[in-house]
């Protein structure tokens, strides 16, 4: 598909560094965990999870994301998608655990809402650097139990999401979903591996995307050659066994970059 035009109809500041842009187009059939390529014309095109079926939630980290912060209501971007596989859908009466770190909450908040609608029970561990950067605290709280951690201890528990995870009885969850900084996901991976829960775990990965449709190979992960844009971005724990997760990724040249 060619990019469709998406006009910004609302902007919501979520945290000092994160804001949500609402569009006049709704991707009705998008699954939680799918993403869109957002084309800031004349600048760049970057992947963004859908945080609502008509919105993305952006953290300002560099050029393109800063440009997104410059946009105002009435401005437009180009959108291609929804792309990728999305999370597997929880079943009725499933107990699921969501572990969100930083802007990784973006694809997970719609998952929490979707899961509850399907009749599942949702527990969330939400982490951020600091209190003001906690994303979608309200959205997660509205859907079930929530455990909050901040790296600097400015809110609730001081520490990392893994601290909470370590204490929880993971065996009582049918599915565990996570998205966040790779270092966090890597720790979660190790922990769940040691607890023998990898089969029930899903990780939403980030890699450098170019084509976003599974052709160019820019986003491939070792050791299986998974295309994060197409076979992912969501991978089951078993798929990531023996992978580069937590070790390295590739830059836009295809060079290996240690994490």
């Amino acid at each position: 598909m060619q990019p469709i035009n998406a006009r910004i109809i609302d902007i919501k500041d979520e945290t000092p560094s994160i804001r949500t842009l609402f569009f006049d187009v709704t991707l009705e059939n998008a699954l939680p965990g799918q993403f869109v390529m957002v084309w800031i014309r004349g600048v760049d095109e970057i992947p963004m999870a859908l945080s609502y079926t008509n919105a993305i939630t952006v953290q300002k980290v560099g050029d393109a994301t800063s440009q997104l912060f410059e946009l105002e209501i009435g401005d437009s971007v180009g959108i291609r998608g929804p792309f990728g596989n999305g999370f597997s859908i929880p079943k009725k009466r499933d107990g699921i655990l969501i572990i969100a770190g930083g802007v990784g909450a973006a694809p997970l908040a719609p998952l929490a809402e979707f899961a509850v609608k399907k009749g599942a029970e949702v527990t969330t561990i939400l982490g951020a650097r600091t209190c003001s950067e906690l994303l979608f605290k309200k959205r997660f709280s509205a859907e079930g139990d929530i455990h909050i951690t901040t790296d600097d201890g400015s809110a609730h528990r001081c520490g990392f999401v893994t601290d909470v995870l370590e204490e929880l009885n993971t065996g009582c969850f049918d599915m565990i979903y996570t998205c966040g900084p790779e270092i966090m996901m890597s720790c979660i991976f190790d922990l769940l591996e040691s607890k023998g829960c990898l089969e029930n775990a899903e990780f939403s990965m980030h890699r450098y995307f170019k084509c976003a449709i599974g052709v160019c190979g820019a986003c491939c992960m070792d050791d299986q050659g998974w295309r994060v844009c197409r076979d992912g971005p969501v991978f089951g724990g078993m798929q990531l066994t023996g992978s580069e997760l937590g070790k390295y990724k590739r830059d836009s040249c295809g060079r290996i970059v240690k994490l």
């Binding site: 598909m1 060619q2 990019p3 035009n5 390529m37 084309w39 014309r41 004349g42 600048v43 760049d44 095109e45 970057i46 437009s76 180009g78 291609r80 995307f209 170019k210 084509c211 976003a212 449709i213 599974g214 052709v215 160019c216 190979g217 820019a218 491939c220 992960m221 070792d222 050791d223 299986q224 050659g225 295309r227 590739r250 830059d251 836009s252 040249c253 295809g254 060079r255 290996i256």
Partner: protein, 301 residues
């Protein structure tokens, strides 16, 4: 089992350059999905980021536009990727290389020799990489020089990948042949462009790019047909091959093997399905082998 320029392959399907060829593990995956050989992403002297996004879009009806801009980690960082394919599969790896001058082509080729590629494919045909690619590939003399330089240096076969964006592709193919190329590959993408009517912006970051996929198949078939008429060396077909019927068609035009790129969009095991489709076609039509159909269209008058 077939042999192209001395390289033994399980079947005539070959992963085309620039598609799923940036990492060793993705090439392994393609090999496991049935490719008879894999061509790497085009590799150069220095790490290169390529053009800004959007770098590739699907146009619908099987067509794609891309302007990747030859992103690559440089030959130094690529040796280990090729090694990985050797470690995990028996599938031949053809190293696609690009550069701006004959000397640099030679440097890249020599730099990659430790990785023992089965052949080199010279990319003189990328339509959207400033200073590289089709700037050379449009000029028979430049093609001759580059080909000669690499052929003089390496001990493995050299394939030259041709651009269709020329008045006379045969003259370019002949230049390659005269300079010692062991095969030509036709075609690279066709110059093209798409504009976003909502904004007036060209969609690709590079403004224009190369058209690939089904729309270009008739163009590729014609190029292969013409090259086969005039060249002695094998022609390897590429361009819009997405099913076994397409593969048979371009082989009948004269292709000894078929490269498959964009069609991995539909299914990554397109190699398996094309290879077995060709086999079945050969059998059902009582041909004695694949060689029987190569160039057969030239005899039908």
């Amino acid at each position: 089992m077939i042999t192209i320029t001395g390289i033994k392959m399980d079947n005539p399907t070959i992963l085309a350059a620039g598609v799923m060829g940036t990492t060793g593990s993705s090439m392994v995956r393609i090999a496991e999905n049935g490719a008879g050989a894999v061509v790497t992403k085009s590799i150069g002297i220095y790490p290169k980021e390529g053009h800004p996004n959007p770098t590739m879009i699907e146009l619908g009806s099987g067509g794609f536009l891309n302007a990747m801009g030859l992103p690559n980690p440089s030959y130094k960082n690529f040796i280990s990727e090729i090694d990985k394919v050797h470690n995990k599969t028996e599938t031949p790896v053809i190293a696609s290389i690009f550069a701006g001058t004959p000397e640099d082509f030679v440097d890249v080729a020599m730099g990659l020799e430790p990785a023992r590629p089965s052949a080199f494919e010279l990319n003189v045909s990328c339509p959207h990489a400033e200073g590289y690619g089709s700037l050379i590939g449009c000029d028979p003399l430049a093609v001759e020089k580059v080909t000669e330089a690499v052929c003089d240096t390496v001990n493995v076969p050299v394939w030259v990948k041709l651009t269709p964006n020329v008045t006379d592709i045969v003259s370019i193919g002949k230049a390659a042949e005269n300079a010692g190329a062991d095969a030509v590959v036709a075609i690279n993408t066709v110059k093209g462009m798409a504009i976003d009517i909502n904004s007036g912006y060209p969609i690709l970051g590079n403004r224009f790019g190369g058209l690939s996929g089904q729309p270009i198949k008739p163009i590729a078939v014609k190029c292969v047909y013409d090259l086969y008429s005039s060249l002695e060396i094998p022609v390897i077909g590429a361009g819009g091959i997405s099913c076994w019927q397409d593969a048979v068609e371009i082989m009948m035009a004269g292709a000894s093997g078929v490269q498959i790129g964009s069609a991995v969009f539909e299914r990554i095991d397109v190699f398996n399905s094309i290879a077995s489709g060709i086999d079945q076609f050969i059998e059902e039509n009582s041909y004695s082998g694949i060689e029987d159909i190569i160039g057969i269209a030239h005899e039908m008058k």
